[in-house]
Amino acid sequence: MQQALLDYTLSLSDNALILGQRNAAWCGHGPILEQDIAITNITLDLIGQSRILYQYAAQLKGGDATEDSLAFLRSEREYKNCLLVERPNGDWAQTILRQFLFSCFQRELYTQLTQGKDSTLAAIATKSLKEVSYHCRWSREWVLRLGDGTAESHTRLVKALENLWPYTGELFKGADYELALGLDPAMLYTNWLSAVQSTLEEATVSLASLTSCFMQTGGKTGIHTEELGFILTDLQYMQRTYPSCDW
């Protein structure tokens, strides 16, 4: 049970960290200064979430584990983030849609956790939920602007949807540690889908061609895409090059 809780907490923090790491690449490179600042706020929220979650995980793990040893010193196969968050930034459409799909999921997930048995996770979820609601709102508005903006933005959003949709199935497929804790993510699917679907419809984008698409899985149990190795190479560079230092 303790192991399941640890794995579960790590999966939550890995999701936040890896998406934060991805989004951070926009800092200084956004389409306009105002939006550069906006997405960076989301990045900071995600890094912040990952930190409190890793701190809790370190406490669960005991020994000399710290937020940084967990974030920086595990191997590829030990990260439990879903595949969706490690997808490349691509263009603004792909980044926005990845955020939207994930934030909508995170909103359902954290809402579930606020009612959960573990009081620490419930407290973290309650605090993070305000941030996540804003992420949903911000990314939703961008999905609408892109879907119903110009012909080019519409095409790009549709392309992004085709790229990312195969990674959404995994979100709702319970890993052993989720099921062991009685937190089956399948329960979140209906709400998530209806939020996503209504926004996409409003954005004049159809999901029809994707309903039977094959879903990629594996991230939750450490079978990642090739992308993760490169992300970790950057992420872990300093900790690996200069072991056991304080920064």
Binding site: A24, L33, D148, T150, S153, M238, Y242, C245, W247
Partner: protein, 313 residues
């Protein structure tokens, strides 16, 4: 009223330290000088995001990562405040950005130096932001109201930047031998470029300076540079590191530190575009702007659709 009278009244206001506001009459040259200086300052903030931005993905701890992101984001905010101040003088942000991308407008040369190691994040915060703050504190009293107000806001936020830089170096200075070496190396590389940020020596100024007369600037380059050297020469003792200048020495008669000669040839080469990263920095800015074009258009198109939609309803 003749323009001569207007100019006299304008100068009287300046002399009495009354701020000039956007709709007030001002000499064309005052408008131009301010537009140029404020937009360059804005460009410097935005280009300044790039060298540090390179290290976000590699920051050594989650805490440092968050601090670095927040700091770089602040710089974006500062660029934004400054663009807004310049826009009150009648130039659009888009025009300013085009001028940056075409090479017509300049930004601070310091950002054409590479950020090579993690310790550079500390050195940039401590030395580069430290030097910038000296200028910026003075600019909070500049004569053009919107510029002065932007600087007040910026200075409030900047003090965290310099402090985090120093603190990050302090940790390195107390760390392993490798960390101390990183720290010293970063200081060695950033010291002289930081001194160059104050511009050429006063004695090389050949023309009468309108910037001082108009109180856009209130201290000379050399005054500010000296103030900076005096401050850093003391602070570095806390780090137990050294500044790469054998001529650096306390001068009891002057009550200031003496210091060595800046390599002015290097200074002018970097200004001219021959710094180590001039091309990369400008390319990165252009690429972001060009790749963002369709995004900006889409948002505009969407807003237009919704506006007409509401009106029709």
């Amino acid at each position: 009223m003749s323009s001569h009278n207007l100019e006299e009244q304008f100068q009287q206001k300046i002399d009495q330290d009354i701020k000039i506001e956007p709709k007030d009459w001002m000499p064309d040259a005052y408008r131009k000088t301010n537009t140029r200086q404020i937009s360059q300052h804005a460009h410097s903030e935005v280009v300044g995001m790039l060298p540090e931005g390179n290290w976000i993905s590699r920051a050594p701890s989650l805490k440092r990562k968050a601090i670095l992101i927040a700091k770089i984001q602040d710089e974006g905010g500062h660029g934004l405040y400054l663009y807004a101040a310049a826009e009150t003088l009648g130039q659009s942000r888009e025009q300013m950005i085009n001028d940056l991308h075409s090479g017509k407008a300049k930004y601070s040369s310091i950002f054409n130096y590479p950020a090579l190691t993690w310790a550079d994040m500390g050195a940039i915060g401590w030395l580069v932001d430290g030097a910038a703050i000296m200028n910026q504190v003075m600019l909070t009293r500049t004569s053009y109201g919107p510029y002065a107000r932007a600087m007040v806001r910026i200075c409030k936020e900047e003090s965290f930047h310099q402090r985090q830089g120093f603190e990050s170096l302090l940790v390195l200075s107390k760390g392993s031998e490798e960390q101390r070496a990183l720290c010293q190396d970063a200081i060695n590389r950033w010291w002289w470029p930081a001194l160059m940020m104050f511009g050429p020596r006063d004695q090389e100024s050949t023309n009468s300076d309108m910037s001082l007369k108009w109180r856009i600037k209130r201290k000379t380059n050399d005054e500010l540079r000296q103030q900076f050297v005096d401050m850093i020469a003391e602070q570095i003792k806390v780090l137990g590191m050294t500044l790469p200048d054998p001529a650096l020495q306390w001068n009891a008669t002057r009550n200031h530190y003496d210091f060595g000669e800046i390599n002015w040839d290097e200074f002018w080469q970097v200004v001219k575009g021959n710094g180590p990263c001039n091309k990369e920095r400008l390319e990165a800015r252009k690429k972001a702007w060009e790749k963002g074009a369709w995004v900006r258009e889409a948002a505009q198109a969407y807003a237009n659709k919704k506006n007409t939609g509401t009106k029709a309803a």
